[in-house]
Amino acid sequence: MEKEFKREMQSLEKIFQFIREFASANYLDESISFPISLVAEELFTNMLKYNPEGKHNVTINLNKDNDKVAIVLIDHSIHAFDITKTEYVDVDQPLHKRKIGGIGIHLVKNMVDEIDYQFIDGMSKITLIKYLER
């Protein structure tokens, strides 16, 4: 399943609905649809935040293949933003040292099993793999 979404916060509800339809069609329960929703939200809002001048819609592709689900987000951007190379987040810091924000990509990395990033001719393509049983 593939769909394009406008670059606006109001698209989140449409993205969640898209994920619900995908989960329902593939008999996926909340243990899979929850992390798919979370990684899609974190990456979509990241694209809005770090590519505010972007004019193209963001494409999301969801595909189930036997024992795994692939989540692909495609954006058109001037600059690459390789989420596989983001800074380490120390989640053991006490309250007074914790920063507001910056945890989204860390959560993405914990919610899926594999992440691939490609930046080709101004197109950012993030592919995430979530295994159904592991």
Binding site: L38, E42, T45, L95, H96, I100, L107
Partner: protein, 94 residues
């Protein structure tokens, strides 16, 4: 769909899905509390880093006056989000 209610100034009830589009609505309630407060997740199905940010900001502010947020009735998936972010050690989760 998301909703947030403050009950008698001491308990916050969360409903639905707490995503990035709901931050301002949530902040309008969380910014209004000034003492230790129970946050009931019983009817919350989903939270992302944006929702965690609102909770963390409130916890930091309250801690300056010796108060805390106490989180109750989190579902398994939301507990996982708190664990992955290390915020299960920053909040009292019951």
């Amino acid at each position: 769909m998301f909703d947030v209610k403050l009950v008698e100034g001491k308990e916050i009830l969360l409903f639905g899905r707490f995503d990035a589009a709901q931050v301002e609505k949530a902040k309008s309630i969380f910014d209004a509390v000034n003492g230790s407060t129970i946050v009931d997740f019983k009817d919350l199905q989903y939270i992302s880093s944006a929702g965690l940010g609102v909770l963390l900001m409130t916890q930091k502010r309250l801690s300056e006056s010796g108060h805390v947020l106490k989180l109750v009735n989190l579902n398994k998936h939301i507990r996982d989000v708190f664990a992955y972010s290390g915020l299960d050690r920053v909040f009292e989760i019951m």
